[in-house]
């Protein structure tokens, strides 16, 4: 019983915790998840935007660097005549260039025939003819040219800026080789995060300026996306087995792809950091909710347990009160059934005295005395039946259920109920037959049937041919006990409320309105049910259906 109760409270506790956690965590998870998603998207777009902006500015600086170089070479070509350049100006310019950090590796003036007219720089290129080179043809056509990186005659990666100057019918070309290191520094000047790096590819996907982290100039970069695109393109790419957030933009002249890449873990680092905080907050919230749920559930279950105990104790007291009331109702009959024999005994003992006062006592009187004494004995036996019945009813207070011999119990109960029936002039009949044992609390069973029988007597008292019938029979694994009367019957309206506590049709002071409510509760506790049928003026039948004791037969054998 206690084990079952313990399980019940544990189950209640579990269900409460589950429900409370669901209630508190579901919105937390929902809001948290939605927030996270929104936050993630927002933050990601911020990161992408940031990278795009970064590359936009960087492109400007790279383009303006290249543009300024072209402009500078162009202005030099127009500032000086071929004659001036040949006779010392180019040497002077190269010296100034060297002093300023050596942006140009060398400078050269090439004639329309393709040979150097003048060259200043570390290499010996004076004998080279450039007439058949790509850049030469471009300069002749367009007036100026910025080349891709190439090895050229000197075997070192470089690129050139060349400008055509027309002088009379002829033309010449001012050509400058740009210091790759210098340009590399410009390209790598702007950085972002810890892994952010910039590099330049040509249209064929070869490194022009390799990234800081490695790569050879002119080597194929293996960059997967060389498609021409307008503006800045940002996407996630896997390069050399690493995930990168990559943005790229085509610069116009030369046709190079400026690429910035940052490892995604680095690019999204603030996002991960914020997510981690979010997850930690969620976990903390979840933990808080769990602790709160457990504490609240424990408190609730404790309260319910306490309330149950109080209810249990109240119910016990109510049952006891109902029992006392039942005895009270029967007391009229009991008193009558005892007082009558007492009056007879008194009469007989007076008669004995009368006869015994003569001396000597005639033989006839002596026989009369013995006869009267025997009659006294009969009356005493009559009283004894009543008092024993009463004791059986009031003394037996069992706390738990057991396999009860229902027939025996009902017969004992009839002993005392019969007294009242006799007093009330009600015929009390019983049809019990052979009854199996039922699983019930015997004290409660007595109370249930005492109550029903008392009610039946109340309903029939003072009526002609009043009759109360107690019937019991087996039906499947249950036992049906019916208390029938041919009394006043119950109004259909009242019938619905008949098991409601404090509902009574008896006059004030007569009924508590608790008898049937208690019966109902007791029967339900035993796992049985109680039914009522009634017709006004015809009578009423209460049927109590009780579960048969498990293994009723074995129990029979053991208790004998």
């Amino acid at each position: 019983m206690e084990q079952r109760d313990g399980n019940r409270y544990r189950a209640m506790f579990r269900s409460l915790v589950t429900r409370m956690m669901l209630v508190s965590l579901a919105p937390l998870a929902g809001i948290g998840g939605a927030n996270f998603l929104l936050f993630y998207q927002l933050n990601r777009s911020v990161v992408l935007e940031q990278q795009a902006n970064f590359l936009r500015y960087h492109r400007e600086s790279v383009e303006s660097f290249l543009g300024s170089l072209t402009a500078e070479i162009g202005s030099l070509a127009h500032q000086y005549s071929l004659e001036e350049l040949r006779s010392g100006a180019l040497d002077r310019l190269y010296r100034i260039n060297q002093e300023r950090g050596g942006l140009f590796e060398d400078l050269g003036v090439i004639g329309s025939h393709g040979n150097h007219i003048k060259y200043v720089g570390p290499y010996d290129l004076t004998q080279r003819n450039y007439r058949q080179t790509v850049w030469f043809r471009h300069v002749v056509e367009d007036g100026y040219y910025v080349s891709d990186m190439f090895l050229g005659f000197r075997g070192v990666p470089h690129f050139i800026i060349a400008v055509k100057r027309a002088e009379g019918e002829d033309f010449w070309i001012l050509r400058a080789t740009v210091n790759t290191d210098y340009f590399s520094r410009v390209v790598d000047a702007a950085r972002l995060g810890t892994t952010g790096e910039t590099f330049i590819l040509n249209q064929d996907g070869h490194y022009q300026i390799p990234p800081r982290s490695g790569g050879n100039p002119l080597a194929p970069a293996g960059f997967p996306d060389l498609s021409p695109h307008q503006g800045i393109k940002v996407r996630e790419l896997v390069l050399e087995d690493r995930a990168y957030l990559c943005s790229s933009v085509w610069i116009s002249r030369p046709r190079w792809l400026l690429v910035f890449r940052q490892e995604t873990s680095d690019a999204y680092a603030p996002l991960w950091k914020a997510s981690l905080v979010g997850i930690l907050l969620f976990l903390a919230g979840g933990m808080g909710a769990t602790i709160f749920s457990v504490a609240a559930a424990r408190d609730q279950v404790r309260r319910i347990h306490r309330a149950d105990l109080e209810k249990e104790s109240l119910t016990q007291r109510l049952i006891l009160a109902g029992r006392t009331a039942a005895v009270g109702e029967m007391s009229a009959g009991l008193a009558h059934e005892i007082n009558n024999p007492l009056a007879t005994i008194d009469t007989l003992q007076t008669w004995i005295r009368d006869l015994a006062s003569a001396s000597p006592i005639p033989e006839e009187d002596r026989r009369e005395i013995l006869d009267s004494a025997a009659k006294i004995g009969q009356q005493v036996a009559r009283c004894k039946v009543i008092t024993q019945g009463l004791l059986k009813f009031s003394r037996k207070v069992e706390a738990s259920s057991e396999a009860v011999d229902l027939g025996e119990l009902l017969k004992d109960l009839l002993l005392i109920t019969r007294s009242r029936a006799r007093v009330e002039n009600v015929t009390l009949e019983a049809d019990l037959g052979e009854l199996p044992r039922v699983w019930a609390n015997p004290t409660h069973l007595q109370q249930i049937f005492a109550n029903l029988l008392n009610n039946a007597l109340d309903a029939t008292a003072g009526k002609p041919q009043a009759r109360v019938m107690l019937r019991a029979r087996e039906e499947g694994d249950r036992v049906l006990v019916a208390v029938e009367d041919n009394g006043c019957g119950i109004d259909p309206q009242d019938l619905q409320r008949i098991f409601t506590p404090f509902f009574t049709t008896k006059p004030v002071g007569k009924g508590t309105g608790l008898g049937l409510a208690i019966c109902h509760g007791l029967v339900q506790n035993m796992g049985g049910e109680i039914q009522v049928e009634s017709m006004v003026g015809v009578g009423t039948r209460f049927t109590v259906i009780l579960p048969m004791a498990r293994g009723s037969q074995e129990a029979d054998g053991q208790t004998q």
Partner: protein, 134 residues
């Protein structure tokens, strides 16, 4: 002195016959009826000064019989006796004008004394005495 004529109506046979013997020995003239029908028959055949009437009887209770006895013999004193008395019953018993209303078992000497007084005073109504049930 004329013997006092008493009618005992009680379904408790041993009580009624025992009491009849006692009273007979003390000079009363007693007839016993074990039920209402028998009582009415006896009323037909003889007259009584006092009726000792049990309240709770199977076929018909003392109260309902009381009225009829009254009608038949207005001068007869009636003493009601019962094994159990509820306050309402006692009130209604007094209201119908019985000589006494007694709770069984009532002391025999007292009962005899009451019967004597009832016989002399007739159906004049109750005169409380120390032994009476209240």
């Amino acid at each position: 002195m004329e013997p006092i004529r008493v009618l005992i109506v009680d379904d408790e046979e041993e009580f009624a016959t025992g009491l009849a013997k006692l009273l007979g020995r003390r000079g009363f003239l007693v007839q016993v009826a074990l039920g209402a029908r028998q009582a009415m028959e006896l009323m037909e055949s003889g007259s009584f000064q006092v009726a000792l009437l049990d309240v709770k009887m199977p076929e018909r209770d003392g109260f309902s019989l009381l009225g009829e006895l009254r009608e038949k013999a207005p001068g007869m004193a009636v003493i009601l006796m019962t094994g159990h008395v509820s306050p309402e019953e006692e009130r209604s018993g007094r209201k119908v004008g019985t000589f006494a209303y007694l709770l069984k078992p009532h002391p025999i000497p007292d009962l005899i004394e009451l019967l004597r007084r009832a016989a002399t005073q007739g159906g004049q109504g109750p005169k409380p005495s120390p032994g009476e049930a209240t």
